[in-house]
Symmetry: C2
Subunit: 113 residues, 2 copies
């Protein structure tokens, strides 16, 4: 999970997977913030979920990185019915652009908490 004081995920040693989701918001709200919060809470309950880091700037650009144990857990979350609905709404109204990159984390280092 993420450290509640910093927002940096507390992760095990690699290897594990990262899903890098970079997006640009439209001006449309329509329940966006509630859905975003709900998706983070729901993702955290899925098997293989390791943590999440998420930032959105005032100009609408956002990066959310979620971390997963393996490819199977990523695919499971992707196919979750409520997540599918959120993806569809994101495409239709909330995001002007959105890219997902699925990557295998090989090395990690850092300081602080």
């Amino acid at each position: 999970m993420s450290d509640p004081t910093t927002g940096i995920a507390d992760l095990p040693a690699p290897p594990f997977y990262a899903v890098i989701f970079t997006s640009v918001r439209t001006q449309v709200d329509e329940g966006y913030a509630e859905m975003a919060d709900k998706m983070v809470a729901l993702a955290a309950q899925q098997p293989g979920f390791l943590g999440v880091e998420s930032v959105r700037a005032d100009n609408g650009l956002g990066i959310t990185v979620s971390y997963w144990q393996d490819e199977a857990s990523i695919k499971g979350w992707r196919q979750h019915a409520e997540h599918q609905l959120a993806i569809q709404k994101g495409h239709q109204q909330w995001y002007e652009a959105a890219f997902t990159r699925v990557a295998k984390v090989e090395r990690a280092y850092g300081f602080g908490k």
Copy 2:
């Protein structure tokens, strides 16, 4: 490179590498913004650089993802003398916490630009 209108990197098809840098700023400025801009410009000149996406929120949490052709280009940039100096200053004064995860991007998809 990043699309200047959105901040989303325009990347080739995988495989390639991502360096996910998540950090929490201290209250210390001391040339931080200038150094951050300089490092992005300098990184973009390095062999193997593919693009960068960067967001920092008002609460101090930031995520910068840089994309690279291979591990060798990541290591070359890491060892660059000016980057080394920036890393050192980051550790000493600009960041309360900072984690780097080096990952191999296996799949990518999205819409918009």
